[in-house]
Symmetry: C2
Subunit: 173 residues, 2 copies
């Protein structure tokens, strides 16, 4: 049965270590004081971390440390990660884009006067994750936001085509 899910934010603040920690010899239950149950952010992370082959990410604002850890983790696992973002937000304090680049992840940004205002991701060319949510802690914890998760080629295909169009257009070469 194809994935069809809706997430609403603000998300309950929960510990996401169990999702994001690299498995090590000594992993044991997290002792931190945060609740360890389900949350909208936890569900979003889980959908992203399901990627096995590719992640296309096209997001206006990206400052969330947890979402950045998820993207780094995928990159280290060998998933092909490509990121498109907005030049203006990229320059603000707290943006994760510089760190993604330092880790060797491919990033391209706009050179336009308008905003690159999309907020979508595509997992394994099969699942579209899209909505109003920028990838910032403010949006996750304080704003009313929505994210749709859609496994349906009729929606995924045009978003993939939009990603490839933008990816080529923002090619600095």
């Amino acid at each position: 049965r194809p994935v069809r899910e809706v997430l609403f934010f603000p998300s309950r603040v929960t510990c996401t270590e169990a999702l994001l920690a690299e498995p090590g010899p000594g992993s044991c239950p997290c002792p931190c004081a945060l609740p360890h149950g389900d949350s909208a952010l936890g569900r979003l992370l889980r959908r992203l971390l399901a990627a096995r082959r590719s992640l296309e990410l096209c997001v206006f604002a990206f400052s969330s440390p947890q979402l950045a850890r998820a993207v780094h983790l995928l990159h280290r696992r060998g998933v092909r990660v490509r990121v498109v973002t907005d030049a203006d937000y990229m320059a603000v304090n707290g943006s994760q884009i510089g760190r993604l680049r330092l880790a060797g992840i491919q990033v391209r940004h706009d050179q336009e006067s308008g905003y690159m205002h999309h907020k979508f991701a595509i997992v394994d060319q099969k699942v579209l994750i899209t909505g109003s949510l920028n990838w910032t802690t403010q949006a996750i914890q304080s704003n009313r936001e929505n994210v749709l998760i859609v496994e349906d080629a009729e929606y995924v295909k045009p978003f993939l085509a939009e990603f490839e169009r933008i990816w080529e257009e923002y090619n600095p070469a």
Copy 2:
């Protein structure tokens, strides 16, 4: 066959008079200099103007004159229109919210510190229109944006519930 459509912006600038003009005895082809063909904004207007019974609108920023004319038109046709918006953006120059209220349309806004950052509409409790697009001319004409149109109860129902939750929560009474 249920509606499933994706719109990408920026939209080509086209004349939308044919969609928005009230039919009168002397209506004839629009003589203006703009192109009169199809556009993303034209398609969005058409989906909204299809409403016969109800329009729930939950949008962070609303300044587009064409989209405001569409909402006014629906209200005058007797469609039950309810609008939820963000208090901060409502106060900016160019917001259409004041004019909607003057026309007798019900509007509620947040009192919270976070943003009411949704950008969705629900037509006749049946078709969900949602994405990254704020209802501003800047977003329509200059930004990279997406809008999904989804006629599927699995997505429409949770968005309706979210609307009703917010509508009650923002009740000033």
